[in-house]
Amino acid sequence: MAGVTITNVSKSYGDIQVMYDINLEISDGEFVVFVGPSGCGKSTLLRMIAGLEEITSGDISIGDRVVNEVAPSKRGVAMVFQTYALYPHMSVFNNMAFGLKQAKTPKQEIDKRVRAAAEVLHISEYLDRTPRALSGGQRQRVAIGRAIVREPDVFLFDEPLSNLDAALRVQTRLEIARLHNRLGSTMIYVTHDQVEAMTLADKIVVLRDGRIEQVGTPIELYENPANTFVAQFIGSPKMNFFGSDDLTDTSQESFKNIDGEKIIGIRPEHLQACEDDKSMIKGKLELIEQLGEYALVHLIAESGNEFIVKMPQPPKAAKGETLNFSTQDNLVHYFDHGSGARSV
């Protein structure tokens, strides 16, 4: 069991710097998710923890040991790759046993651990097959099994679900959450999908262009995003942004702080249809996406700004009609117009 400490870590490939001064504390047993758009450096950071990528400067510690110069297999970590990276020429059993064999684990112990992991992952009946003869979901389980049998202190997952279809993704996500509950190991999980991040994480680390934008629990990021980037990245559909010219009545209590220097963020689920006299924001109806459980209503504000409202029932209105919306004061986010940073 061990936590992970990342101190002033930077990474460059030749002259190109891709990670800037990363500092992060991951406690023992925590489920941490690195999330961010493609190319932001999630995998690079994970691979530096794994030992597959050299650390240009700074330190990474696992437990209380600095591991910068420690071989991947000696760090007490196991990794599940996006492409599964199973050994195609070995049976499922041997795929899972490979690491233990390298460590010269006694045969009986190998057998016991592999069978136990296979049991948990429901792949016992495939132990003699090669990966070629398995479906994507089954391969993913084998990859997870290969990590489990090594009994690592820290599990590393690099977008493990992105090659699965939607239904399997939800199911496997749940199983990873259960696995975490059962093993209690530290897990670090990389994804570009904010839903995975929100559902799995104890702590989310939002990355952009090689920098940490914010660290917090899912609910903290949802309720108090540090800047417009995090605000838009967490939550679906994305948070709406408005300038003061979008607001019907800036004298209202909710908007007392607004001026030209600020932008306002309101999540689509926090806007409600209302009467004309209570209106904060007006928008012309453009399109309704009916999803059964709720509807996504796309509108265009007077300034031409597009926004979305998530409504339990679609409005009974025709395209082009103007609708009125209001919200509660505490659901309004203020950001600095220039930097995008949260203000107030």
Binding site: L52, S73, F81, Y87, H89, F98, G99, R146
Partner: protein, 276 residues
């Protein structure tokens, strides 16, 4: 004519074309084989004879004058030995270049290939003298070493291409699993690239079997290969076409049988890993 008929016709024309080309390539070998059963006079008759009473006298003469099996053994030892030695060096080299490339890797590969562009005769003197100094003239060991070296660039390049088809994550996974570099190569890379390695080795054996320059220049009686045996049968005077044909047939036969038996693997090797 429908489109489908047209397509059929096209295919047939292409097939006939392919047979004609194949025939053209094969004809000299066929003629060689035929000539080996002629008398020396029949061999140079004008017009050339297609029908004649075959004779085995050329083969009998070769059997009498030389020790075919010693030359054949020498060919086997040098072509297989040279290939084995080259593989022993090429596998780690190709592994290093495929999985730990630097910005010079491409240039190094090109430089290696460029050594194949120099005429071998350019280094005949130094190599001859080196062999002489070390007492390696007319030994199989000298040929094994030189054969390994002359094929090394091409073997490294082919293996490099095969190795690069292996997803690097698989090797990373083995590294995370604690495999040493040696185990990584022997337990992961080699099994995965096995088809490519086998066909590369076959190709190398065929090339070395037919190698003429070094085997003729560095060997005489002790370590002579079949190719040098063939060369010894061409003489500046007298009639020798039929005998030469017979000895050539004997020199080609083993490797042609070998090539025939392994043709599937060989074709894979020659397509440079294009077929997965």
């Amino acid at each position: 004519m429908t489109d489908r008929d047209k397509q059929k016709l096209k295919n047939q024309v292409a097939i006939i074309g392919a047979w004609i080309v194949a025939g053209l390539f094969f004809f000299p070998i066929f003629w060689l084989f035929l000539t080996s059963f002629k008398t020396e006079l029949q061999a140079i008759s004008d017009p050339p004879k297609l029908f004649f009473v075959p004779t085995l006298e050329n083969y009998a003469l070769i059997e009498e004058r030389t020790d075919y099996f010693r030359f054949a053994w020498s060919s086997i030892v040098t072509s297989f030995g040279g290939t084995a030695l080259a593989m022993f060096i090429a596998i780690p080299a190709a592994y290093a270049m495929a999985f730990n490339p630097t910005r010079w890797t491409k240039d190094i590969l090109l430089w290696m290939l460029s050594t194949k562009m120099l005429p071998a005769v350019g280094v005949l003197m130094p190599i001859y003298l080196i062999c002489q100094k070390f007492g390696l003239l007319d030994t199989k060991l000298a040929l094994v070493i030189i054969f390994a070296l002359i094929n090394l660039p091409i073997i490294i390049i082919i293996l490099f291409n095969y190795f690069r088809e292996i997803p690097v994550e698989i090797l990373e996974a083995s590294r995370m699993d604690g495999a040493s570099t040696f185990n990584e190569i022997t337990q992961v890379v080699l099994p995965l690239a096995w088809g490519g390695i086998a066909s590369t080795a076959l190709l190398s054996i065929v090339l070395l079997w037919n190698e003429a320059f070094w085997s003729i220049n560095l060997t005489s009686s002790d370590a002579g290969t079949l190719v040098s045996l063939v060369a010894s049968f061409s003489s500046p005077e007298g009639l020798f076409w039929a005998k030469l044909s017979a000895v050539s047939t004997l020199a080609c036969a083993p490797i042609m049988v070998f090539g025939w038996l392994t043709q599937k693997q060989l074709v894979r090797g020659l397509t440079f890993g294009a077929v997965k």
